[in-house]
Symmetry: C2
Subunit: 267 residues, 2 copies
């Protein structure tokens, strides 16, 4: 892994971003359009953050804009307060959109979307970016969560842990509800997602810190189940009719399972 902090960030990133801000104040639109796009289209410099402070902030920020906002804001607002621009001008409020698996659709967990957005912001090299995102996603699928314990809980009840086995909001929430015995719209489920947001922010900062110091090494890999599915379905296989790294069994029924009989009279 390359170390962003050792790159010539004051060349392609620092000076470019600085001059863009300056030119916008002093000379309006006189910079050619091609140069303008180039100035902003760079990764931003990451500065090491404290994972526990980040988790606490994400827990608080979740209450202002849900999961994606909580994770993204927890990092950017710390950098903004410490370093000012360009972090200060990032329209963090846009990240509300990731709530409930993006616009409440139930798809990609918003906390993970916020984490991946941060990785996209700070890591330019594509394969490295994908490795960091993969580590986040596999950690989320395979870890007993949430582990975060707030100093001042929004809801002061015991929050059980579950292994989501999925990066999708609705599947992750459903598995937790099964373990915890709560409904998906219940207050404990919402508190679980708030604590999960804190966990995801902490893990994000853990891996960004290690990437920043050239120490990043993935701790998770695909399960044997996923590898078995991929052996028939992914690139280079016989069928080659699917792509991706998501856990399979949490959405697709097990090969031998069927849906319970639907009572035609109940609907």
């Amino acid at each position: 892994m390359k170390n962003l902090s050792r790159r010539d960030v004051l060349g392609p990133l620092g000076i470019a971003a600085g001059s863009c801000m300056l030119s916008s104040c002093l000379s309006g639109n006189e910079t050619p359009a091609a140069d303008q796009a180039k100035a902003s289209d760079r990764p931003w410099t990451y500065h090491e953050l404290d994972p526990d402070i980040t988790a606490a902030r994400a827990y608080d920020d979740h209450a202002k804009g849900h999961c994606m906002y909580g994770v993204f804001s927890s990092v950017i607002t710390q950098l903004s307060e410490e370093y000012g621009e360009p972090y200060r001008s990032f329209p963090v409020g846009m990240m509300h959109y990731g709530g409930g698996g993006t616009g409440s659709s139930g798809s990609l967990c918003g906390a993970l979307n916020g984490s991946a957005a941060l990785i996209g912001l700070f890591v330019q090299e594509e394969e490295e970016m994908k490795q960091l995102v993969a580590e986040m996603f596999l950690w989320y699928e395979q870890t007993l969560l949430p582990t975060y314990s707030p100093a001042t809980p929004g809801l002061d009840v015991e929050i059980p842990k579950s292994i989501s086995n999925s990066i999708l909001c609705h599947a992750s929430a459903t598995f937790w509800c099964k373990v915890a015995g709560h409904k998906t719209s219940s207050k404990p489920r919402k508190e679980r997602c708030r604590r999960l947001t804190a966990d995801t922010a902490r893990k994000t900062v853990h891996i960004l810190n290690s990437y920043h110091h050239d120490r990043f090494a993935p701790l998770h890999q695909s399960t044997e189940e996923v590898k078995e599915c991929q052996s028939c379905h992914t690139k280079g296989s016989e069928k080659e009719n699917s792509k991706g790294t998501m856990s399979c069994g949490s959405c697709h029924f097990s090969p031998t399972d069927t849906h319970p009989p639907i009572d035609e009279t109940s609907g």
Copy 2:
């Protein structure tokens, strides 16, 4: 729907963003931290764009950073060239992260993630934001795509259309491959996603334009199949063990289907 253009955008948005840029150049970090966060944490002003020009730009931009980048960049770079800041300083390059369903995980289609990010940037009111995202997602699930025909194709072959029945990258791609008779890693599949990115950018600008002019009205709704699933599983139902609006049948097998027998000797 409220019209953002008629709001007092020069109060909470325009002046705030402008003064933030100015203060960063003239006075460094002297603005209090709380005010700094507030200045950037607002929706940005949308200006009407031409859907066809946007589609063509998204098709071109896809080649520079995949699907999420293609959609997001097609809108922001047009606004940047026409209006300068704050669009010019947005780090558009971060949106590379959405490629392949986010870091190649195969989850949420990156084109849709880019579309939803734009909606999050331009629409503040949460229920309105969710309605616009829902319209995008249902359109994507239910429409024969791609329809975009590039003036200068990256790959000059016939690209069949399919109804994805899913907002997930890997499911959407797999269904298209089944219809088209191509592998998921083939050049025609990549060209299909590039054209789909153009379609998604066009549709995004269509609905942002109509929202901007107080004319937004959703054209799509959940299918009967989804409504049937929701009648048992979503908020207020008997089980209340799931949430979201995604199409169900594209991931979960049909209630009566099973996976074909797995040949134990082949793996």
